[in-house]
Symmetry: C2
Subunit: 465 residues, 2 copies
């Protein structure tokens, strides 16, 4: 299946064929992670962990089950999740006195404990994150990494003395996003969600959206300013220096396996996956090209070369299987390995190796003595080319649109007065969603596409995954 012809089918095929996921598990929307997919996901988690750790956030772990009564303390929150929750009602042969739910996200698991952890201003800021499995009973069609019922999730939770400090945390979250997206070579937009599309219980929600090849937007992360919406019902109070008792201000930051879905969708091509170097389980493949009689020594050289590369902190693999080199090329191209090194007798004799880039197919001759340095440059160049190409593709999918019934595949920017009824009307006419507004993007002298009221407000509209 070609990506251009049927993106959706292409995606569904490639994620399974390349060993990223196995959808044959007997529960809908709960997929198996085979080794190649799981290694990639672990590398994404490692990249995110590095960003949190280096900024002084602490990794923690809260239980997966939440008692029903804890869950119900914040009213908007439960309304938002009620239909999506899996319930544990029995253990052994006993009916439970209090039903337990599988975390869809961990606010209601953490906040009763935060109220014990935080006593005074000296306990603030509290900045923790966890890397966990979460559960949502999705009733829409499921899709690997993008809409699943058990989701790999990274959630940051912070508590601050003031609203301003919480706002500063959100700025830091956006720094983290910049670094992680650079690793994934993924362009994204920071979009403030419309009031009626906020996270349940949030004061405001920022969506981090990326644009998929079929012109649909995909939220890959979200950042929420809670103000004191949770800290009041969960009684997370602190004593100020002046002795007064105040609720903390909270933020959260969520990222998920959707990031992997975006990587597949944005970078993959008709030959298969294209793995961003930072998260490629194998960055460099070494393929021995034996001729008659010298197979053993060429294989040994290839093995040696992979070992040498690994000792410098890169991830290399020598494919020593007894199949033709062409089959190896095809196999690993499909899995998206960034760089292939071809090593035959002539290369060994003359002290070089032929490097082939997965994204461009471009061949380079690298002197063996410069191998590590040159591989570093190649990987870096490949990452920036991947990001650049993706950015150009997004640019070709941005439109200023005046007629909501004539939207295109991609981001449709429209002027909107901000009234809910006009917003709902845009969604009705376009059959798409209001993603929200982008900070700083205004258009002076325009009029709302629905009611005609003068406004400089610009809203992003797109179909979503």
């Amino acid at each position: 299946m070609k990506k251009e012809e049927d993106f959706s089918e292409w995606y569904n095929e490639i994620v399974e064929e390349t060993g990223l996921t196995d959808k044959r598990y007997p529960i809908k929307g709960m997929n198996v992670w085979p080794a190649y997919g799981w290694k990639t996901m672990l590398l994404i988690k490692t990249a995110i962990r590095r960003e949190f750790d280096s900024r002084g956030h602490d990794e923690v772990y809260f239980p997966m089950l939440i008692p029903e009564d804890q869950f119900q303390k914040e009213k908007e929150h439960i309304k938002g999740f009620d239909a999506q929750v899996f319930w544990v009602t029995k253990a052994g042969s006993n009916d439970l006195d209090v039903n337990l739910l599988l975390r869809p996200t961990s606010e209601t698991a953490m906040y009763p404990v935060f109220s014990l952890w935080i006593r005074s201003h000296a306990d603030l800021p509290l900045r923790v994150y966890q890397i966990v499995n979460t559960f949502r009973y999705e009733t829409k069609q499921t899709r690997a990494f993008i809409r699943v019922r058990e989701m790999q999730f990274i959630e940051g939770h912070t508590c601050h003395a003031t609203f301003e400090e919480a706002e500063a945390q959100i700025e830091e979250d956006l720094d983290i996003m910049r670094s992680v997206a650079a690793d994934l070579c993924i362009p994204y937009r920071v979009i403030r969600r419309i009031e009626w599309d906020k996270f349940p219980g949030a004061y405001y929600t920022i969506g981090v959206d990326t644009m998929l090849p079929d012109g649909r937007a995909l939220q890959i992360a979200s950042i929420h300013q809670y103000r004191t919406n949770f800290s009041v019902p969960y009684e997370i109070f602190f004593e100020e220096t002046d002795g007064s008792r105040k609720p903390v201000h909270q933020t959260t930051y969520g990222m998920s396996e959707r990031m992997l879905g975006a990587v597949v969708a944005i970078h993959g091509d008709d030959k298969g996956l294209v793995m961003p170097p930072a998260i490629a389980p194998i960055q460099i493949l070494v393929v021995p090209i034996p001729a008659k009689g010298n197979a053993e020594s060429i294989y040994a050289e290839a093995r040696k070369m992979a070992k040498h590369i690994n000792s410098h902190g890169l991830r290399a693999h020598a494919d020593e299987r007894d199949i033709r080199p062409g089959n190896k090329f095809y196999y690993w191209e499909r899995k998206g390995v960034p760089i292939r090194l071809e090593l035959g007798k002539r290369e060994i004799d003359e002290g070089f190796v032929t490097a082939v880039r997965r994204d461009s197919g471009k061949k380079t001759r690298i002197s063996t003595s410069e191998l590590i340095r040159e591989l570093g440059i190649l990987l870096k160049d490949m990452a920036s080319s991947m990001l650049k190409r993706a950015e150009e593709e997004v640019k070709s999918k941005e439109f200023d649109v005046h007629d909501p019934s004539a939207i295109k595949d991609g981001y449709n920017r429209m002027q909107w007065c901000g009234a809910e009824q006009c917003g709902r009307k845009i969604e009705e006419l376009s059959g798409a969603s209001l993603l929200g507004t982008v900070s700083g993007e205004k258009c002076s002298g325009g009029k709302c596409v629905i009611c005609g009221t003068a406004t400089d407000n610009v809203v992003y509209v797109a179909k979503t995954m």
Copy 2:
């Protein structure tokens, strides 16, 4: 609370006071992992991951929920777990058609998929592992890390063409155990479980037991030979080179957060935890000792020293809090940091630092120019002293016992004919459990302590946690 006086109370206090766990979560046996505990657990997982990866096992991830009908295929297995399972019966407001259970272990999640993955002998051996949360509805008294309802679990699963290859895998598992136990500085015994104490569905079970200070044995890992007990009902067959279809031979290997419980129990003392260097979140604490007027420069030197140590792959932390050095000593001693470095004006002027070992309290003067090398030696020495001390303690708790009603705290070796009724009688008279037999440990010319039949068979008997 002193460890000698009331081990159980001492343990319960210390795990919470030092930030390894927080038991105030509102579900019994499901505890919160605060940063210090979680970092330690992550380091244990990292050590285990390294052992599996270096031997070519692949890390994977299978869904947490298992459909009831899959679970019921192996009859012994379900009998063993039936009373311990948490059941999801509802999602949103719907009753599920097929109830789902929270994995107590993942045989029944994995094996239906293995039957799809394995087609021919070329697909063997299959060797995978996963690092997950598992769930058991424990009805006995819970205890942090030792008996919990949500457990951090590492499970290895392998499939082989023959029984012999599966046996060889079990030998490899024991190699892995040796390396991991060396990191934890924990002595252990490899004990083959009695027939009626096997893992549900296993052909035989090997328990890896350690001895706690109160004389109770704690199983910290287990290895199971399944033969074809699961592969037949789950239809995991492969095509042999001769075209015949055969069930695979399987093994599993389970390790859990009990390893952390054992570390606390075995190494901790009345001052607090003693962290084995390999899994200590902070291996080296740098404490600036300021005098009047020079605080700032001493703090800066301490920070620089910690940074320098970290850049060499060790884990150091400079405590720059504005509290007295003595309070810092106490605080970090309690958390078990292996080495404390004290850095004052005299040390800086003369180019040395004072190192204090957590296990022995021994002070050493280290030249700054030799710092990294000397720290490496100190950490290594400390690890071997910790293991040696623990081994000596275990030796003092080994007894050859002839009267089952007079057992002691520790390992009680008894002669036993092997008959179930005699075994049950030993348990009844001793109020303890038959752990099983140790390969190679025989005692010729003896008699069963119950029936008097001549036997050279030796069984280990102990109270268990």
